[in-house]
Subunit: 124 residues, 2 copies
């Protein structure tokens, strides 16, 4: 359980450490993947969309400028690999996920599960 029921004094000291740890960890996670588009790009790549314009078509509402900067950031952080296929005409660029990005599977799963049920609740 991520929450602690009681507020009694003996617990305060103990859970405050846990709380600070949680705050820091969640802060780090959101800093890396909390942007509006970051996870969506990763999801689209995970489904085999690995070209620039293909990604832009798959992700509704993203602009070329934002997609470009997202891909750069993801490459910099080791989530995405960029491969230029110079043998093709015109030159084709392929993006793909690294193994490290697989560590995000759990996050994507719980986030999408919660998001789906939450969306149903919002339409009440």
């Amino acid at each position: 359980m991520y929450y602690k029921e009681n507020t009694c004094d003996e617990a305060a000291g103990v859970t405050d450490g846990q709380c600070a740890n949680l705050l820091a960890a969640v802060g780090d996670a959101l800093y890396a993947i909390g942007g509006k588009w970051t996870l969506r790009v990763i999801i689209a790549l995970a489904h085999g969309h690995n070209r620039f314009n293909e990604l832009q078509r798959t992700i509704p509402g993203i602009s070329a400028r934002v997609l470009s900067s997202e891909l750069k950031g993801l490459e910099l952080n080791g989530f995405v690999r960029r491969l230029v296929r110079a043998e093709a005409t015109p030159v084709v660029v392929e993006y793909s996920l690294t193994e490290y990005s697989n560590t995000l599977a759990g996050v994507v799963r719980s986030l999408s599960e919660w998001g789906a049920t939450h969306q149903q609740k919002v339409r009440e």
Copy 2:
């Protein structure tokens, strides 16, 4: 066509639907709790910090203005309950999580687990 039409014909149609669903669900989730402070406020509340200034002390870096607007938004969306204790002097305001906010447990857990390991990887 001078480039391949599909990476995997049979998969394309099937997974594109899944992909769109995932994108929408994750989008909804991030819209609700993807802000810089939203989850941190919830975590602090979950650890028994239920007064305004207490929350501000617990969450490093948050300003009163932002905390105030976060709490308003969370109350509006049904994550937080606001209780004014008029019998006390000075008047005391208590914030607490609703039952609905417990549905976020899985999200917080996976996000904090990933955030913790990611932070270790970043320090390489």
